[in-house]
Subunit: 258 residues, 2 copies
Amino acid sequence: MALCDSHSANALTLESVRDSLVRQEDTIVYALIERARFPINSPAYDHSYAKIPGFSGSLLQFLVRETEALQAKAGRFTNPEEHPFFPDDLLPSLVPPYNYTQVLHPPAVFINMNKSIWEMYFEKLLALFAAPGDDGNYASTAASDLVCLQALSRRIHYGKLVAEVKFRESPQDYEPAIRAQDRDALMKLLTFESVEEKVKKRVAKKAMVFGEDVTLDNKEEKRGKYKVDPSIVSRLYGEWVMPLTKLVEVEYLLHRLD
Amino acid sequence: MALCDSHSANALTLESVRDSLVRQEDTIVYALIERARFPINSPAYDHSYAKIPGFSGSLLQFLVRETEALQAKAGRFTNPEEHPFFPDDLLPSLVPPYNYTQVLHPPAVFINMNKSIWEMYFEKLLALFAAPGDDGNYASTAASDLVCLQALSRRIHYGKLVAEVKFRESPQDYEPAIRAQDRDALMKLLTFESVEEKVKKRVAKKAMVFGEDVTLDNKEEKRGKYKVDPSIVSRLYGEWVMPLTKLVEVEYLLHRLD
């Protein structure tokens, strides 16, 4: 979080960005584990279930949209690290402005990948780690989904800061591709397969460590039963989080010389 | 969560209640770790900061009250395991009712310890584990506080189910003290110091396991640096969570023969 506070304009380094990305992995793993407390609870996503007066959509959509509207009033989206899923319905912040340092190039503000994140989460990821079933806790389930969505969104849009810090470290590496508006060349410059493999292994390990049943009897706890399958967290990163982050980075760099 | 779903009326056993309590420890530890991402961020709690039109109180109070109002519309508090912090401001659920099994004795519904939980959290606990400082993320901080508050509230009010299952297992042990309305005798019957010591040790261990920095290099990760001090989680349980749970149990049993 320190990156965007008012005292850290000069704290934007590859090291500080990396530390934040590593810490955000923990947040994502905790969030998935907590969502997995509940079964899939499909009525929360069923447009014909909720029938809330004045709202057409699922209970999940209702809760995400209204919670975002509320958090917007409280200033959440004045932080450039935060991106709403329903940007069209937001009221401006009602609280005194906080002086977040503007480290990003101004066109960054228009990059919002939340539609892709939403589709990935609900159409692909969720069924991979939430058990079948229905326990009636739809509001709590939706609140857990929102925590997952916000954590994934923050991580993926952190690509803006990743791109900025990489650009600042060696602008000469990126400028030709930016001037040529060459997405493929930028994607190539931003891809380090050995680093990505390491990240996938680390998040799987986090799913093991954070998702085990901890008991006072040491022997019992290494049974290989985890609250969320570590291979799914690894796949989440490999197939979706890192590719989407790189898309954010590419979009950002394409406008870095605007 | 299974205890209150519609298929588990006969699943109320000491074992199932214990399993839920143990799992809820994980939720509480994750929630504290996630709140500790942010510094104390005192403007979130300052009544003179927010100045939201039509609301007098802190930004935290605003967000908790309004989020609860929203979750109430989505049916959160129709689950007897959930208890609001602002019960007076809630609208009824707008979604079709879910058939939660009523395992609790009806007067249980009036027991709500959230005022004590709120005071404990903001006046004692928070300063013990949130670092000094201000990073401007007040809305996100308040959302993290709400996750902590809801997890603690669910755990502590689970005392109703603990008391019910204990009463069902041996009513003869409790009936004399209930008829005499003898709180001290009930408290004595519900206190098992060796079990409480074990719980305190287990939650401290969870704070260690879940709060470590996980790296692929095994040597690095045992440095004894945790995201939340394990001794504070142990103290949270010993001084507040277990005593408040027993208060819930006593209140419940006092009305068990009504």
